[in-house]
């Protein structure tokens, strides 16, 4: 059996799946607490395991918003940064004034050769000042460290000697082989800053799993739609930031066989939430990842994530008319007015769970309590048109009619005005999608072959997910001129998707035969090589290193045969099962150095792409068809956080 946990802004969903006949055994919704995600996860986990044999659970996978929430709320450790930049752009340009950011002397060149080491006295002096300033974690980053980690390691050694082994010390080369020094600095900072909270969370989950008798691997979803082990997540908590769109993608994959890689033409994925909508692109079913990395809380990082454009428009966006015409959002003051009754019920009892919105946006309660009518929402407009059936449609109609009665309203009739708003919303989505596609299609290429062969991505299909998706599907088909597929019930899709998510990993190999060195920073492999080393050697070394790494971390593919998982059908699936290590690029350049010696500079990247462990044959059931989802709330259906 497999367990999937999806932590949303409103609810934490858990599912227990039986791999043998691919069926949903149990599911549970627990409210997500705004202050900590851990209690909700533990509650949901307990609930789905209850009454089942925990020893039969082969894997628990969870998606978490922990990293991002901690970063946004400032629940981070003070990090001292030591960087060696050498020649180039002044690194302070990417950082700003910060007494905890120290640029050391020394340099390493583009081949990873150490031009000059930093002065040890300078390092000691910086460490002493960090101690005084109360630093609790350290980040060490050198320019070009993916090509040679030696400088970073030697500085880290000094730091560990000075601060002791309990101090989290994060080195830049562990962020992987991608060349981008400023992003490496920020990624290191994020991982160091989150070291404390991630240690606590890891320990709490591990403890809970032990208590429940779950002696299986615990996995965490990353922003690239793959999972990695809880231990890895503890070391690199930043990688799980921004995994929301990834959970959505897995949800589509889990539910819609047609969305699986290679089974579809190019498609647009539109995840419509309560306050915002994320758009992403699937090229033949595979997500396009953002170039260079995710930007998180104002920091550019190396985190691999779906290439997404977000706009502040969702089911709960406020509708207004004004002198400038009708407007949608960007604010969310609460769920649809059709649910106003539920709201007041909520006030009598316990307060309804609210999305962790920015302070001062305490949702509908505030508006209702102050006695002021808040504006209707997009969901109310959909209700009026009969496209959605949410709460009391009469309340929606009343509110839209009132809006239509305002002097600025372009339409005097509630239905006509609702139609105008829906069209307006879809036009904005369409414009955003066009902008995303032109960005994606304008991505640079570097070889003649790619320049000639690379076809632009032209979506032929829409995948709509999120609460308002079913209501908008037909109108979206018209607006985009594309067929739309909507999961029949999205309530459990994301959790099932997370449960079935495959481990992903990318690694880049750098080899320089003149320096006689091969290095795979992502897999912590370094070796001496001779002059005859070539592309085939590099690919084999990378493949072997991958296998060794996966054995060690317990993230090999298909870890489920004992449970009788159904192997997915189709030649593509078969090929993937055989060996699905992909090589996005493998290049070998003839080098001629300053002394006219011939050698080769080799760069190979390998990856396990995201996907599902096995196909999900079972129809994803409607929410509420299981006995365990006691805490189901009416309000949860209005859009946000589903």
């Amino acid at each position: 059996m497999l367990i999937g946990l999806d932590v949303g802004g409103t609810n934490t969903d858990a599912v227990l799946l039986r791999a043998k006949n691919a069926s949903l055994v149990a599911s549970f919704k627990a409210p997500t607490r705004p202050d900590s995600i851990v209690p909700g996860m533990i509650e949901a986990l307990r609930a789905v395991v209850r009454g089942h044999d925990a020893s039969k659970v082969r894997r628990v996978a969870l998606s978490s918003t922990l990293g991002l929430n901690s970063l946004l709320s400032g629940n981070t450790l003070p990090v001292g940064m030591l960087v060696v930049a050498g020649p180039g752009i002044d690194p302070r340009l990417f950082w700003g004034e910060d007494p905890l950011f120290r640029v050391l002397s020394g340099a390493q060149d583009h081949r990873g050769r150490i031009v000059s080491p930093p002065d040890p006295n300078e390092i000691r002096e910086a460490l002493a000042s960090f101690r005084e300033l109360g630093v609790r974690a350290l980040g060490i980053v050198c320019k070009f460290s993916p090509k040679n980690p030696e400088l970073e390691n030697s500085i880290a050694e000094l730091a560990v000697k000075d601060f002791g082994p309990d101090m989290p010390v994060i080195t830049g080369w562990r962020m992987g082989g991608t060349l981008n020094f400023p992003r490496r600095m920020h990624s290191v900072w994020c991982n160091a800053a989150l070291a404390g909270v991630s240690r606590q969370c890891t320990a709490a989950l591990r403890h809970c799993a032990d208590e429940l008798g779950l002696r299986c691997p615990l996995m965490v979803l990353k922003a690239d739609a793959g999972v990695f082990s809880l231990e890895q997540a503890g070391l690199s908590p930043a990688s799980s930031m921004g995994s929301g769109p990834a959970a959505g993608l897995l949800g589509i994959w889990a539910e819609d066989k047609a969305a699986e890689p290679a089974a579809t033409p190019d498609a647009l994925m539109i995840d419509i939430g309560g306050t915002s909508t994320d758009l992403s692109v699937l090229a033949r079913g595979s997500p396009i990842l953002v170039r260079r990395g995710l930007n998180v809380a104002g920091r550019p990082t190396l985190i691999r994530a779906l290439w997404t454009r977000s706009l502040a428009l969702g089911g709960d966006s406020s509708l207004r008319v004004g002198p400038q015409g009708p407007s949608i959002g960007p604010d969310r003051l609460g769920p649809a007015l059709a649910l106003a009754e539920a709201e007041s019920e909520g006030q009598r009892g316990e307060p309804p769970a609210t999305a962790p919105a920015a302070p001062g946006r305490q949702g509908g309660c505030a508006a209702a309590l102050s006695g002021e009518r808040r504006p209707p929402t997009l969901t109310d407009a959909l209700n009026v048109l009969g496209l959605a059936v949410v709460g009391n449609a009469e309340l929606s109609r009343k509110a839209m009619a009132e809006l239509a009665g305002r002097p600025d309203s372009p339409e005097k009739d509630a239905a006509a005005l609702s139609r105008l708003f829906v069209r307006h919303a879809l036009e904005r989505l369409r414009d955003e999608a066009a902008a995303l596609l032109s960005e994606v299609n304008a991505r640079p290429v570097y070889t003649i072959r790619e320049l000639l062969l690379q076809d632009p991505i032209e979506p032929e299909q829409l995948f709509l997910i999120g609460g308002p998706a079913p209501a908008l599907a037909r109108e979206a088909e018209k607006a985009f001129g594309l067929p739309a597929r909507v999961p029949r019930a999205s309530a459990w899709a994301n959790a099932i998707g997370v449960a079935l998510a495959r481990p992903t990993k990318t690694a880049e190999l750098y080899a320089d035969t003149l320096l006689g060195r091969m290095h795979i920073p992502d897999l912590d492999v370094e070796a001496a090589i001779d002059r005859s080393y070539g592309l085939d050697h590099a690919k084999k070394d990378l493949k072997d290193a991958f296998a060794a790494y996966e054995r060690e971390k317990g993230t090999e593919l298909a870890p489920l045969p004992a449970d009788g998982a159904c192997p997915a059908p189709g030649p593509d699936q078969q090929a993937r099962a055989d060996d699905d290590l992909q090589f996005p690029y493998a290049e070998s350049f003839a080098m001629l150095d300053e002394r006219n010696r011939r050698g080769r500079s080799i760069r190979v990247m390998a990856q396990r792409a995201p996907g599902l462990l096995f196909c999900w044959k079972d129809a994803v059931p409607e929410a509420g068809s299981h006995g365990k989802d006691k805490s189901e709330r009416k309000g949860a259906h209005s859009g946000g956080g589903l």
């Binding site: 340009l93 950082w95 081949r111 060349l179 800053a193 550019p300 570097y446 000639l452």
Partner: protein, 442 residues
Amino acid sequence: MNTARPMRPELSRTLGLVFFPAYDWGICEDHPEREERLLYTQDQFREEGLLDLPGISEYRPLLAGMEDISRTHFCPPGFESQVETPHLASAGSAITAGRLVLDGRCDKAFALTRPPGHHAMKIVQGGRGFCAVNIEAVMIDRLRRDFGVRRVAVVDTDCHHGDGTQDIYWHDPDTLFISIHQDGRTLYPGTGFPGELGGPRARGSTINIPLPPNTGDEGFLYAMNAVVRPILEQWKPELLVNSAGQDNHFTDPITNMRLSARGYARMVAALDPQIAVLEGGYSIQGALPYVNLAVALALAGMDYSHVVEPLWKEELCATDAKSMNYIRSLSETVLGMFARPEAVKHDYTHANGQWTCERDVYYDTDGIRERRHETLTDCSHCRGLLRIRSRTDLRPWSLCVEIPAGACPACRSRGHDAFTAARKQGMRVELRDVDEDLYQRA
């Protein structure tokens, strides 16, 4: 508690980069212009996070069409045999850079592309100095058609004389070509002396500043500030293009100059071109990553003072006093010639209402010798019809006819007549009518 957030440096201007290293194309593995050439530049740009700076963006090149090449060149052996996809990609990169600036998307653009092009002349019988297609000229001629720009200045800072670009615009008074290079007596292609000032109807629109070997930062900056800038201020181009060859660097293996990365950046900052197109530069590890970075930063109006190449030493980039004296007097000579080009003799003879001249051109890549016979109509209504007869060791005489921009009706019909007559004789002939954007051959 780290409260600092990444600074958002406000760039004074936007820079578009068109990067096309053609990693899958080269002449041979140990050629100076090889696949590896821009590899470390790309590594450096990526590692620096250059594209994360607000205002700096990267754009994918378009592929130039054969019609773009035939707008600039004549090619008696046939374009199909001389122009390969990499040339179209490289020229397309330059065109993309030009469009970014002219359609207002970027203030500045830098095309880092290979193969280079500034030794490719108006007539292409083969490869010269690693070049087959003059990518700047193809760009300029396309931009003229698309955006109607007229007065364009090209400042060529490659260490080798930009003889191809000079040849293409030799008779064009609307294109100012200035080349700063290592003296032709000491380096390929052996031309580019101050007396080369343009054709008889375009005197002073070609300027050459041959610097002595071992000129360093000071010497280059002097020439830029004392000669190039005053000439540009007087000439007032609508568009300023820099043919940015990075082979004046003190580590370059095939030249003898002493410019540093920061020297390059200072020179570019002083020149302030709208478009820079990479030309040569063969110190691919010791110079290119740093020079290209410094030039990109200078174009973006950013601080480049930290771009110090690992091998840099002040004395390696110095210009000695003797050279400085030479450069000062050279500068005066060049400025004097620009002021009074008619005082300098040219090698055209005038007879029967036309100017004529003989030239020999050597194609070093293919080992071909070419003989040219140029005829320019001395027309009082327009620049005059240009006819060039060309033959090589391999090919018989062929005729290239150019009806120039702003041609008068008489010159236009003269051009078409020449084309028809040559075709009747069974001679290979090509005709271009610039205003009509027409190219035909027979």
